[in-house]
C-alpha cells in the first residue's frame, strides 16, 4: 500500500505534470513568485483604480484568492514527488539592496511548504468569505485582504531574511487598518494594542535577524547561504545566547507567547472574521516559522540555552491560558484565547529541538491554522444568527442550524486534537518529542488537551445544544434563523476538507517535512547525551529481537 | 599681567557671557535683541584678536577680519528683521515683552 501511494500515484501525477509543464523548475519558480505578486498587484489595482463595478471587483478579488491556492496545490504536488530537503522553486530578483546581500529570493522547503500551503488555503477561505460578506467599501476591504494574503504567502516563501520580515509587515498593516475600519466592539484600542505589540515584536526580531547577518560576516541575508556556512563557522556560544534571545522574544511576541499574549484575544475579538482567520490562522505562524527555519538551525547553542525558559513560558500558554479560556464566556475571545493556548504546544515542540518535536510543531501549526480559521469563520456565522458573542445568551442553535452545528463540532474536535483531523498528528509528535526532552513535561502538556476538551465542548453545548436561552428566543422570534448559507459553507468545507485530508493522510505533509527537519535537526543539542542512550537501548532490543523473534514465532506456531 | 591675546579674549568672553545673561534676564524683546548683538560682537572681538596675534609673516590671517565683515552684515540683517517682527507684533498685541508671547504653548 505504501508503495502504491508513493510510487504509482505520484509517479503518474508527476508524469502528467511533467508532460504538461515540461518539468521546468523555472516555471514553478515563476508560479511561486506570481502567486505572491498577483494578490499584491490586484490589491494595488483595486486601491488605485476606481470606480469599478462591484461584480468586477468581486471577480478580480476571487481570482486573486484562487490563484495562489491553485499554485500552492500544484507546487505541493510536485514537491511531494521531489522529496528533497532543500529549497525548491527558487527565484531571485534584485531590488536595489543587493550590496547588503538583500534580494527578493523565493523558494520553498519542507518546512515552509506546508505553511505556504496552509496560508493559501486559509487565505482562499477567508477571501471567499470576504467576497460575499457584504462589507462596506468592499473593494478596499478586499484589496487590503489581498495585500495581507500576498504578504503572508511571501513571508513563508522568502529565503531572504529581509524579505521574510518585510512580507510579514506588509501583511500586518492591513490587519491594523481592517480591524480599525471593519472591526467590532472596542476595535480602536484593540487595533492599537495589536499593532504596537506586533511592531515591537517585529522590530526586536528584526534586530535578531540583523545580528545574524552581521555576526555571520557573510554579508548575506540568504537563509541557505547562512545555513551552509554557519555549519562550518558557527557563532560563539555567548553571542548565540543574545541573538537567540532577540529572536525568541521578538518572534514570541508575534506568536503571543505568554505573557505577551494580551493583544491576541482582544485583537481577534475585534477583528472582522476574514482578518481574524488569516491572521490567527496563517500570519501568526510567522514567528514560529522564524524560530524553526532560522532561529534554532542557525543558533543551535543559543536555542538550547533558552529552551528552559521557553518551556516555562509555553506552560504559561498551556495551563494559565487554558484556565483563562475555560473561564471566558465571549465566544470570539474564547477562540482567541484557545489559539494562544495552542501556541504553547508549538513552543514546547520547538523547545525539544529535535526533529520529532519541531516536525510536530510544524504539523501542529499547519493544522491549527486551518482549524482556528474555521472556528473564527463559524463563530461569525453564529454571531449572525444569535446577534451576540456571549455564549450564555445562546443555546439550542443546533435545531435551526444543524449544519453549522456539525461544522462547529468538527472544528472543535479538530482543535481538541481528535484523530482524523490534522491537529492530532502534530500534537502526538510533540508529545513524543517532549518525552525525549523532559518526560515530566508530558503531564502538563497532555493535561492541556483535557482542558481544551473542557472549554471546547462546553462552548458547543452552550451554543448549539439544550434549550435556547431567553435572549436567543427573542432573537429567533424576530428573525428567522437559517442554516449556513453558501458563502459561509464553501470556505468552511474548504478548511474542513483540508483538515480531514491531512488528518487521514498525514504523510502528505510529513514526508517532505521530515526530510527537511532531519536535515536541519540531526540530533538535539542538549539532549544529545540522552538520546543516543535511548536509541542504543532500543537498538539493542531491536537487534536482540530479530534473533529471538524467529524463535518466538516458532513457539507461537506450536 | 601683560596685555596679550588672552586679555582680549577674556574681554570677548565676558561680552559673550553678558550677552547671554541679557537673554536670560530681560523680558523686553528690544533689549534681548541688543544682547544678541553683544554676543555677536564678542565673537567679532575674538576674531580680530586671533587674527592679529596669530598673524605671522607670510600668513596674514585675513580670514578672521573678513569674517567680522560678514558677521556685522548678518547682525544688521537680523536686527532689521527682528525689529520688523517686533513692530508687527506690537501692532497686534500692544506689547514687546517676550513672556507675553505665550499664545503658542502646550
Amino acid at each position: 500500500m505504501d508503495l502504491l501511494i508513493d510510487n504509482a500515484v505520484t509517479r503518474a501525477v508527476s508524469n502528467i505534470l511533467e508532460a504538461a509543464f515540461l518539468s521546468k523548475l523555472e516555471l514553478k519558480a515563476l508560479l511561486l513568485g506570481s502567486s505572491i505578486k498577483l494578490p499584491i498587484i490586484i490589491a494595488f489595482f483595486l486601491l488605485v483604480v476606481r470606480p469599478l463595478s462591484e461584480s468586477f471587483v468581486k471577480n478580480l478579488a476571487t481570482v486573486g484568492f484562487f490563484f495562489p491556492a491553485l499554485v500552492a496545490g500544484f507546487l505541493w504536488g510536485s514537491f511531494a514527488i521531489s522529496s528533497t530537503d532543500e529549497f525548491l522553486f527558487c527565484s531571485e530578483i534584485n531590488t536595489g539592496l543587493q550590496d547588503f546581500g538583500i534580494s527578493l529570493k523565493l523558494g520553498l522547503n519542507g518546512i515552509s511548504m506546508p505553511l505556504y500551503l496552509m496560508a493559501s488555503i486559509v487565505g482562499l477561505a477567508a477571501g471567499l468569505y470576504a467576497v460575499n460578506s457584504g462589507a462596506e467599501r468592499l473593494s478596499i476591504y478586499l484589496a487590503l485582504l489581498l495585500l495581507m494574503f500576498g504578504g503572508t504567502l511571501g513571508a513563508f516563501a522568502s529565503i531572504d531574511l529581509f524579505f521574510f520580515y518585510f512580507f510579514h509587515e506588509i501583511a500586518l498593516i492591513p490587519t491594523f487598518v481592517m480591524i480599525g475600519i471593519w472591526g467590532g466592539r472596542g476595535r480602536r484600542s484593540a487595533a492599537m494594542e495589536l499593532t504596537i505589540y506586533l511592531t515591537l515584536g517585529a522590530l526586536v526580531s528584526l534586530l535578531g535577524l540583523l545580528s545574524v547577518y552581521f555576526q555571520s560576516g557573510l554579508h548575506s541575508f540568504d537563509i541557505v547561504t547562512l545555513k551552509e556556512h554557519l555549519g562550518e563557522l558557527g557563532f560563539s556560544v555567548a553571542a548565540q545566547k543574545y541573538m537567540f534571545a532577540l529572536l525568541l522574544f521578538g518572534f514570541g511576541i508575534l506568536v503571543s507567547l505568554w505573557p505577551f499574549h494580551s493583544w491576541a484575544p482582544r485583537g481577534y475579538a475585534a477583528a472582522p472574521s476574514s482578518v481574524a482567520m488569516l491572521h490567527a490562522g496563517a500570519l501568526k505562524k510567522f514567528g514560529l516559522y522564524g524560530l524553526i527555519q532560522i532561529g534554532a538551525p542557525l543558533l543551535p547553542h543559543g536555542a538550547s540555552q533558552w529552551t528552559g525558559l521557553i518551556v516555562w513560558l509555553a506552560l504559561g500558554n498551556l495551563i494559565f491560558i487554558g484556565f483563562v479560556t475555560i473561564a471566558e464566556r465571549d465566544l470570539k475571545q474564547m477562540i482567541g484565547y484557545s489559539s494562544v493556548m495552542h501556541m504553547g504546544y508549538a513552543f514546547l515542540g520547538i523547545a525539544c529541538l529535535s526533529s520529532v518535536g519541531i516536525g510536530g510543531a510544524v504539523m501542529m501549526m499547519f493544522a491549527h491554522g486551518l482549524s482556528v480559521a474555521l472556528l473564527f469563520l463559524l463563530s461569525t456565522c453564529v454571531y449572525h444568527r444569535t446577534q451576540t458573542f456571549d455564549m450564555f445568551e445562546m443555546g439550542g442553535l443546533g435545531r435551526q442550524a444543524p449544519l453549522l452545528a456539525g461544522f462547529f463540532v468538527a472544528a472543535i474536535m479538530a482543535t481538541v486534537g481528535l484523530p482524523g483531523f490534522a491537529n492530532f498528528w502534530g500534537e502526538i509528535a510533540i508529545f513524543v518529542g517532549l518525552w525525549e526532552y523532559r518526560p515530566w513535561l508530558l503531564v502538563p502538556a497532555v493535561a492541556g488537551i483535557v482542558m481544551s476538551a473542557i472549554y471546547g465542548l462546553r462552548a458547543v453545548a452552550r451554543i448549539f445544544f439544550g434549550e435556547p436561552s431567553e435572549e436567543f428566543k427573542k432573537v429567533a422570534a424576530e428573525s428567522t434563523v437559517e442554516d449556513l448559507h453558501m458563502n459561509e459553507r464553501i470556505p468552511a468545507i474548504l478548511l474542513l476538507l483540508a483538515l480531514v485530508v491531512v488528518g487521514f493522510w498525514p504523510k502528505s505533509i510529513s514526508q517532505p517535512l521530515n526530510k527537511a527537519v532531519n536535515a536541519v535537526y540531526p540530533l538535539p543539542i542538549e539532549t544529545a547525551e540522552i538520546v543516543p542512550s535511548h536509541s542504543s537501548h532500543s537498538a539493542d532490543i531491536a537487534s536482540s529481537l530479530s534473533t529471538r523473534l524467529e524463535g518466538f514465532n516458532v513457539v507461537s506456531d506450536n | 599681567m601683560n596685555v596679550g591675546l588672552s586679555s582680549y579674549l577674556t574681554v570677548s568672553g565676558l561680552l559673550f557671557a553678558i550677552g547671554f545673561f541679557g537673554l536670560l534676564l530681560r523680558r523686553n524683546s528690544l533689549i534681548t535683541l541688543m544682547s544678541l548683538e553683544i554676543m555677536l560682537n564678542a565673537s567679532n572681538l575674538a576674531l580680530v584678536s586671533f587674527s592679529r596675534f596669530h598673524a605671522v609673516s607670510g600668513s596674514s590671517m585675513m580670514s578672521g577680519n573678513i569674517f567680522v565683515f560678514f558677521v556685522i552684515t548678518v547682525a544688521a540683517a537680523e536686527v532689521a528683521v527682528g525689529l520688523a517682527i517686533i513692530v508687527a507684533l506690537f501692532r497686534r498685541r500692544q506689547t514687546i515683552m517676550v513672556d507675553a508671547l505665550n499664545e503658542l504653548r502646550d
Partner: protein, 511 residues
C-alpha cells in the same frame, strides 16, 4: 609683500570662481530677482502668474541646471572650487537636488496656502528661492565663512517666512521666538567657529594653518590636537549651533511652538529642508574636520540621540495638535538620523543611509504637510487630530495619502520610511551601537501610537453622538484638493510605495 605678487594671487582666486558650477544656485537667485521685477511689471490681476513662474522656473532649474552642473561637477567630484570655499561631493550633489525638490514642493504647497490666506505671493517665493540657493550652497561649503554666510541667509530667510502670515499674531510670535532663539544659536555657533579659528591658527602649535576656517586645513590640525580645550569647546559649540537646526536635545525646545505658529508650508520647509541642511553640515563636519574628535563626539552625539529620540516620541505621544505633532515627531526623526551620524564615525556608508532617510522623510513629510495645508481651517495653527475624523470617507484620496505618508514616517513596510530606518539600523548594527538601537526600537514603537492614532482618526469609522443640547450642527465643509495637488500627492505617495518595494530607485546612494 610686493603688490604685483599679491595681485597675481588675487587673480588666481578670481580665476577659481567658477560660477558655472553653481549654476543652479545662480539661476535660483536670478529667478528670485525676476520675480521681484515681475511683481512690479505685471498687472495686479495677472499676479497669479508669479507663483507659476516660480514653480516651473524651479522645475526648469531642476531639469536643466542640475544636469548641467552635474556635467560640470562630474569632472570635479571630490574637488573644491571657489578657492576652497566649496567642495563637491556625491552628498552635496544629491542634497542640491533634495533641496530643489523641497523648494518646489514648498512653493507648490505655499501657493495653496497663500491663496487660501490671501497673502501676497512674490515675497514668499522670492525668499524661498534665495533660502533654497543658500541651502544648496550650505551643503557644498567647505569653509566656515561660506558656511556661516549661507547658514545665516537660510536662517534670516526663515525668520521672514515663519512670520510671513503677519495678520496672525501666532505667526509673528513664532517668528520672534524663532528669531531670538535662532540668533542665540547662531551666536553660539559663531563663537565656536571663532574658537576653532583661534586654536587652529596658533602658529606656535604644530600643524597650524594660515586659513584655519577651511575644513581641509582645519582637519589635520584637529587630528593633531584632539585634546586641545579650545578645539573641543569650539567643536561642541558648533555642534550646539547645528543642534538647533536639526532639533536635537536640548536645542529642540523651540520646535513645536514655531511649527505651530508658522504657516504650514514653512513648517514643512523647516521640518525638511532646514533640518536636512543642519544634518548635511553635521555630516560634513563629523566625516571631515571633526573626525578626530570621536572620543568626545561619539558619547556626546549618542547621548543626544538617545534623548532626542525619547523626547520627541514621548512628547508627541499625547499631542493632539497636528502641527506640534509633526514638529515633535520630526525631533524623533532627527534622533534616528543622529544614530546614523554616530554610526558614520565608523561606518562609511552611514552617510548615505542618512541621505536615504532624509529622502524618504521628505517624501512622506511633504505629503502630510500638503494634506494639512489643504485641510487647514482659516487659522491653521489650530489643527487637531480630531479634525481629521472621517477624512477617508469624505476625501478618500487625501485619506489614503495621509495614511501612507504617516505609515512611511512610522517606518512601516512596505513603505519607503521603513527602508530608511532599516538602513540606519543596519549601519548602527555595524557600528555596534546597541543602546542606540534599543532606544530607537523603543522610539519606533512609541511612535506607532501617535502616527496610527492619527491614521485611526482619519480612516476609521467614527461614532457621532447627537449633540446634547439642541444646538444646530453646522455641516462641515470639506475642502477639495486641486488637480495639481492630486498629481503632486500622487507622485509623492507613489514614490513612497515604490521605493519601499524597489529600493533600486535610490541605488545611486547605496553603491
Amino acid at each position: 609683500m610686493p603688490i604685483t605678487e599679491n595681485l597675481e594671487k588675487y587673480a588666481g582666486y578670481a580665476a577659481r570662481n567658477t560660477w558655472e558650477i553653481i549654476l543652479p544656485e545662480v539661476s535660483l537667485a536670478v529667478l528670485a530677482l525676476v520675480l521681484l521685477v515681475l511683481e512690479m511689471v505685471l498687472p495686479e490681476r495677472r499676479l497669479a502668474l508669479v507663483a507659476k513662474i516660480a514653480l516651473w522656473g524651479q522645475v526648469a532649474v531642476l531639469l536643466v541646471g542640475i544636469p548641467f552642473s552635474s556635467y560640470a561637477g562630474e569632472v570635479i567630484l571630490g574637488q573644491t572650487s571657489f578657492s576652497g570655499l566649496l567642495r563637491h561631493t556625491l552628498v552635496s550633489e544629491v542634497m542640491r537636488i533634495f533641496f530643489l525638490l523641497s523648494s518646489i514642493l514648498v512653493c507648490h504647497i505655499g501657493s495653496i496656502y497663500l491663496e487660501r490666506q490671501q497673502l501676497s505671493r512674490v515675497e514668499f517665493f522670492h525668499v524661498t528661492l534665495v533660502v533654497t540657493a543658500g541651502l544648496m550652497l550650505l551643503t557644498q561649503s567647505n569653509h566656515f565663512i561660506m558656511l556661516f554666510v549661507a547658514l545665516e541667509t537660510v536662517t534670516v530667510g526663515f525668520y521672514v517666512l515663519v512670520s510671513y502670515c503677519r495678520k496672525s499674531s501666532r505667526s509673528l510670535e513664532a517668528g520672534l521666538k524663532y528669531l531670538l532663539l535662532g540668533a542665540c544659536s547662531s551666536a553660539i555657533l559663531l563663537f565656536g567657529i571663532v574658537l576653532l579659528y583661534g586654536a587652529a591658527g596658533n602658529p606656535l602649535l604644530h600643524g597650524s594653518s594660515a586659513d584655519p576656517m577651511n575644513f581641509a586645513e582645519l582637519g589635520p590640525f584637529i587630528a593633531a590636537h584632539p585634546d586641545n580645550l579650545l578645539v573641543l569647546v569650539g567643536a561642541i559649540l558648533v555642534l550646539a549651533g547645528l543642534a538647533f537646526k536639526i532639533g536635537a536635545v536640548p536645542f529642540q525646545i523651540w520646535i513645536p511652538d514655531v511649527y505651530q505658529g508658522a504657516p504650514t508650508p514653512v513648517a514643512a520647509f523647516l521640518a525638511v529642508a532646514s533640518k536636512a541642511g543642519g544634518f548635511v553640515v553635521l555630516l560634513n563636519l563629523v566625516t571631515g574636520p571633526f573626525q578626530a574628535l570621536q572620543d568626545v563626539l561619539v558619547p556626546l552625539l549618542s547621548t543626544v540621540a538617545v534623548l532626542t529620540i525619547l523626547f520627541g516620541n514621548i512628547a508627541a505621544l499625547t499631542q493632539r495638535n497636528v502641527k506640534r505633532l509633526m514638529g515633535l515627531s520630526g525631533v524623533a526623526h532627527a534622533g534616528y538620523m543622529l544614530v546614523g551620524v554616530v554610526a558614520s564615525f565608523t561606518v562609511d556608508w552611514a552617510v548615505y543611509a542618512i541621505l536615504f532617510y532624509l529622502l524618504t522623510y521628505m517624501l512622506a513629510s511633504f505629503a502630510v504637510f500638503e494634506v494639512m495645508t489643504v485641510m487647514a481651517p482659516s487659522e491653521d495653527a489650530d489643527q487637531e487630530i480630531d479634525d481629521y475624523e472621517d477624512l477617508a470617507k469624505e476625501r478618500p484620496f487625501l485619506g489614503a495619502v495621509l495614511c501612507i505618508a504617516l505609515g512611511s514616517l512610522a517606518g512601516i513596510p512596505p513603505l519607503a520610511g521603513f527602508i530608511g530606518k532599516l538602513l540606519i539600523f543596519v549601519a548602527a548594527f555595524q557600528a555596534e551601537l546597541w543602546v542606540l538601537l534599543a532606544v530607537s526600537v523603543i522610539g519606533v514603537v512609541i511612535s506607532i501610537y501617535y502616527y496610527f492614532g492619527w491614521i485611526m482618526a482619519a480612516s476609521f469609522r467614527t461614532v457621532r453622538y447627537p449633540p446634547l443640547d439642541d444646538a444646530e450642527e453646522v455641516p462641515r465643509v470639506w475642502p477639495q484638493e486641486s488637480s495639481m495637488s492630486r498629481i503632486v500627492l500622487g507622485c509623492l505617495t507613489l514614490a513612497t510605495v515604490a521605493i519601499g518595494f524597489y529600493q533600486g530607485l535610490l541605488r545611486f546612494l547605496l553603491v
